[in-house]
Symmetry: C2
Subunit: 427 residues, 2 copies
């Protein structure tokens, strides 16, 4: 750096925060290295549609190298980050050690199991493409097995699906699952009594979509119920076993499928980092997004913990915050390099939305709220625009129209059970 | 059967033979059960395009339950067939035992490794969706690793790809791989010297596409060479290790990737069956497609071995034979039930075709042969028509046009490395 070498910025994580940071740093007088464990970026907002067989996995992921083709000073390393030596300014990866001058940690979040017994072992998280494929396979497999299950009690247990957590993921997935079962699978399994199928949505508080205004929350609960989803409020999961969900109030649901959408925490590798963190493993940052002890380490997105002074609560772990923080971290690095004062994070809240089912959604934009068909169309347009890649947009649009007009979901197949047919050849 | 019960026909395998048999038996006075290990039918002719990142896996598979929705007397069981008790007329599956009156074995073929040392252990077969995904992941991973490999000899070994077998699969895949590397990956890995990439096609005889007329064979070899594929004739593989291919003539190729497309044999479960078989595990059938000792057991497709008396050679293991044999087996069962004489198999050869690359293909239809753009367009149309499912056709068409005009393949992503993120939950 001192001797004229261009400063090196390493970005950990190619989610929205990492990608936006890279875009801001493109063409600046720095060398940027983006590191991710996968060679693709995932559009997390549509994972639930993959799990519900509405979209195919490839539709919502995009190759990182294709994104950075337009960014001449950005390169990519596919590797798992193992640790960071903040003193020596080194990122230790599964492949090699990388030196940095500036670091942006944008590695996102993992599912939070809250140490509730059995949850990590027996429930299905829904945070990655792998997990969404695995959940879909599990659901379709259950129907294949239920056809041949002659014990009514066992069949009823198989056909009970429990979703824990009434945030956007839980709401969207329970609606999508209900439609999958009662509209599509109905045709493929005419021998099954679909009235045996029960979808439960368990929420620990007294409200769904807690960030939404009351009219949207009520609309959501009412329509989910109309779609056959059993919405339970104040339902605390105490323990999960292979076959049962135990609730704190003594309730018991027999099921083989618990989808855990009850919360997230900082990614697990962050545990090892010698940085100031919250109990749920998020990194405390200054308003400039710098970490508390290292001015050259920034954190953006779900992994960053920062109190929004205006409302006295931390900024939410949502896409827009990640994207805006990624951009600000990059800008602040450039300001730092230029000796300019750094700026504090200001969240430009563009609103939020959630889809419940076919032409049913809720949206809040500014002070206004929308429900029903208009909100659903808005949801479609916003998600199509945000999807990376023109071909993805075209194919997702066709899929959605097909689902809508022909009422056939994408292929409800049980995906190849192993991508490594010959494990001896595993790299 | 005697007491008025409808006869039960069990079909093992939902490939072309099995599906066509089920279609012929639809609406007949029989109950049909189709058994397959997967819940989807695979269009095998396009597997190589999945491996070469031209198409996504879902584009070429189709749910079996969706196919049989229109067939009222056909049901489906997803299970692995383990054995058959021909005397007691029972199919033993991983799920349950199934009694049959008539049986159609249409379970297809497996890769034939010819007991050559190291081949099964270290080469990549290309016969299933799983295998095509795995091969694609391996190829893209190699490029990701090659970027960080600073030892030139190791990098050269990584970037050498060997395809064994100059039949349709070997020809089509080596052409597609060459285009993937020299046209698409070139853009994503500008830091790699692509002249280090070598694609070898090894053929044990002196000709590619041996069933084709000479002009098509010559055209194929010439254009593959122009595309940078090193075509070696009379090249016998003697042994494969993790890093090397040893040829009988003393030749040695250092590589991490050997794609084995040198031959097929009857599916492995057929080994256990007490039926007359060939050394390569195919079941000998009478011209009526009945097995030699059991008149109620029929075999169709790759698994059936029958000499074509007109040419003195067995019928080829190709899609059209499978489809026509599946239909004939079903018709002969109906004739048998009605006390009518059975018919012998007559192959209606509709021709054959293979694609080499972008607007390069060869086709033989009747006595006529076609090469180049016209053959390629013919190939596109025929394969689009044969693909099951309207949505698949639309999306494959868009993908092909996109590849053609924009020269961007579908996503060259490294697919989720495990579909079971939490192995404890494996069913």
């Amino acid at each position: 750096m001192e001797n004229g070498k261009r400063p090196k910025v390493v970005i950990v994580g190619a989610g929205l925060g990492g990608i936006w940071a890279a875009k801001v740093l493109a063409n600046a007088q720095v060398d940027v290295l983006l590191i991710d464990r996968n060679n693709y970026h995932t559009f997390l907002a549509l994972l639930y549609q993959v799990a519900a067989a509405e979209l195919q996995p490839e539709n919502i992921i995009y190759p990182i190298r294709k994104i950075i083709r337009e960014l001449p000073n950005v390169s990519f390393l596919m590797a798992e980050v193992e640790n960071i030596d903040c003193e020596k300014k080194l990122v230790k990866t599964s492949r090699e050690e990388i030196a940095y001058d500036y670091l942006i940690l944008a590695a996102g979040s993992d599912t939070n199991y809250f140490n509730i017994p059995g949850v990590e072992e027996f429930s299905f998280p829904l945070k990655t493409i792998d997990e969404s494929i695995f959940l879909r396979n599990h659901i379709i497999s259950i129907f294949e097995r239920a056809v041949e299950e002659h014990d009514e009690i066992k069949r009823k247990k198989m056909l009970s699906f429990v979703i824990v957590g009434g945030g956007a993921t839980g709401v969207e997935f329970s609606g999508a699952l209900s439609e999958l079962v009662h509209r599509l699978l109905l045709k493929d399994y005419p021998m099954l009594d679909m009235s045996l199928v029960k979808v439960y949505l368990l929420e620990a508080s007294d409200r769904l979509l807690s960030a939404m205004p009351e009219n949207c929350r009520d609309y959501t609960a009412k329509h989910l119920k109309m779609m056959g989803v059993n919405v339970y409020f104040n339902a605390f999961v105490q323990r999960i076993t292979k076959d049962e969900v135990y609730l704190r109030d003594g309730g018991l649901i027999q099921t083989e499928t618990v989808v855990w959408a009850a919360g997230v925490c900082g990614v697990s590798f962050a545990k090892k980092l010698e940085l100031k963190k919250t109990p749920d493993n998020r990194i405390n940052v200054l308003p400039t997004l710098q970490t508390v002890h290292y001015e050259n380490i920034y954190t953006a997105g779900d992994l960053a913990y920062l109190i929004d002074e205006e409302v006295g609560r931390p900024f939410p772990m949502v896409a827009q915050v990640a994207l805006q923080q990624g951009a600000l971290a990059a800008k602040n690095i450039m300001r730092h390099l230029n000796g300019e004062p750094l700026e504090s994070f200001k969240y430009n809240d563009l609103g939020s939305m959630a889809t419940i089912g076919r032409h049913l959604a809720v949206a809040k934009i500014g002070k206004k709220t929308y429900t029903g068909l208009f909100a659903w169309l808005l949801w479609l347009v916003v998600h199509l625009i945000r999807l990376v890649g023109y071909r993805n947009r075209v194919i997702v649009f066709i899929n959605w129209m097909w689902n809508y007009f022909i009422y056939e979901r994408a292929i409800p197949l049980i995906y190849p059970s192993k991508t490594a047919p010959n494990s001896k050849k595993n790299i």
